[in-house]
């Protein structure tokens, strides 16, 4: 039986305390919420913290509620099941409900949190292996080694962002609320990610996520999330496409955002997509253009399930399908009619 190595378990009551503990304990400590990412990785020796700072007893980062004029608040400590099943989320942000509901399995979603999902470690099939395996192959940059085994010439780790919910929340313009002993700050979720497989979060290690705001404006946006993977459950995304857009009464696109997951170390915003989509109807030409742009910035590598050329090619297909779905949904879908929870 695989077991956890020894650690000391710290269980604070507030985020400030938790952050304080993380700061004090430094490199030797790690925050843990549902543990569905942390524990397997500790069992395989990928994470080797001597202290775990548990967020399980903290109330401040819970709750999902609509705040009129502000948007939808989603506490980082809510389970993926809670997010996926929440009425408002389902009605206004089906992309988020789907993304959360497509993470692995029901059992895992009952334990895993959305906070943990947003900050889930990057993945690589040279890295997500046991100590024995990594030793046999030779350790890599991300843990215990000094070379990238996927791209030996690369100076940085290219492990892939594997969060399902991050691209969706990014596409909806979510703001993250971070808390530390020094106080709290609010930043666009997008800005929290770095395209670096090791240092993939642009925040201080002791900063904790209290939750995210999906802004009021996003309630009018139609949104969708499509996930590519081998099986209908268990599997991480090997490509995820989050798309959100808004059209005016005539069907002209007023705003659009496409964010990919599993094609880089961070959620990949297709920066040029709005240019291709906005100011005209979401028709086949516009969709083709946007899909082409998305494929161009999609750079899967040979470090996850399914061939990388295949995943790249699927970027176009999945983006096309995502946009087509939003276009077809017309005025009826999305969050326009979502009422306060």
């Amino acid at each position: 039986m695989l077991r956890l190595p020894d650690f000391t378990y710290v269980r604070p009551r507030t985020l400030a305390e938790a952050s304080g503990a993380l700061q004090e304990l430094g490199d030797e400590a790690m925050a843990v919420a549902g543990g569905t990412d942390v524990y397997p990785k500790m069992k395989r020796g990928q994470f080797t913290p001597r202290y775990l700072v548990s967020l399980s007893r903290i109330e401040e980062h819970r709750g999902i509620r609509r705040v009129e004029g502000r948007g939808l608040w989603i506490g980082a400590g809510e389970t993926l099941s809670a997010v996926a099943g929440h009425e408002t989320v389902r009605r206004a942000f089906p992309a988020l409900a789907d993304a959360a509901g497509l993470v692995s399995t029901l059992q895992l979603r009952n334990a895993g949190t959305i906070g943990g999902n947003l900050f889930v470690d990057t993945r690589c099939n040279y890295y997500d292996q046991s100590f024995f395996w990594r030793q046999a192959v030779g350790f890599c940059l991300k843990k215990d080694g000094d070379i990238c085994l996927v791209a030996p010439k690369s100076r940085v780790c290219l492990a892939i962002c594997s969060s399902d919910t991050a691209p969706v929340l990014s596409s909806l313009g979510a703001e993250a609320v971070l808390v530390s002993a020094q106080g709290s700050r609010e930043v666009p979720l997008d800005t929290l990610y770095r395209d670096d497989g090791i240092d993939y979060l642009a925040k201080r290690p002791e900063e904790l996520l209290q939750g995210v705001w999906v802004p009021e404006e996003s309630f009018g946006w139609r949104n969708v999330y499509l996930k590519l993977r081998r099986r209908g459950s268990f599997d991480f995304p090997v490509l995820g496409v989050a798309a959100a857009l808004r059209t005016d009464a005539s069907g002209t696109c007023e705003g659009a955002k496409i964010v990919l997951t599993a094609v880089a170390s961070a959620p990949k915003v297709v920066v040029d997509a709005p240019g291709a989509l906005c100011g005209r109807p979401v028709d086949a030409t516009a969709i083709d253009e946007a899909a082409e742009l998305a494929m161009r910035v999609s750079h899967p590598l040979d470090n996850a399930d399914m061939d990388y050329w295949y995943r790249k090619r699927m970027t176009r297909v999945y983006v096309t399908r995502a946009l087509r779905r939003l276009a077809d949904a017309g005025e009826t879908a999305g969050g326009a009619d979502a009422s306060p929870a």
């Binding site: 305390e17 009952n110 268990f234």
Partner: protein, 171 residues
Amino acid sequence: MSSENLSSETIAGKRLLRLLVNGESHEVACRVTHSLLEVLREEMGLTGTKHGCELGECGTCTVLVDGQPVYSCLMLAVEAEGPEITTVEGLAQGGRPHPLQRAFSDLSAAQCGYCIPGILLAAKALLDKQPDPARADIEEALSGNLCRCTGYTKIIEAVEQAVAQTNEPHE
């Protein structure tokens, strides 16, 4: 670091836990590193809960925590204090097998049987929430449990049979 500096709770080494398992309260000495799976099997002798990966990838260790299915291999025992835990040993009531157990047995849905405890619990969680599920709901609810023997066919039929029997008007 000294834990006293923190107002939070610090647990190291072993600890005496009070766990509520299958309706009984148990005191068990556990290491903080112990998963619920290890405590159930190794400290409490409840070996009905199985393990096939210990990484959250197979479903055989499924138990219910306050009625919700979770993987016991990924849950720390120290986090299991408080809620009600149900394992396969707790499915039968008063010596009478749960309708799911009866249906699984009647249809010979358990072949090697190794995945069955986890599947029974996942199925129970479904039926407790949704007494009359469609086939697609059953497939979805059991999609976090791998079975290598049955092709799931008899398993799904057994859940349907348990539903039918439970929903039958009592004579």
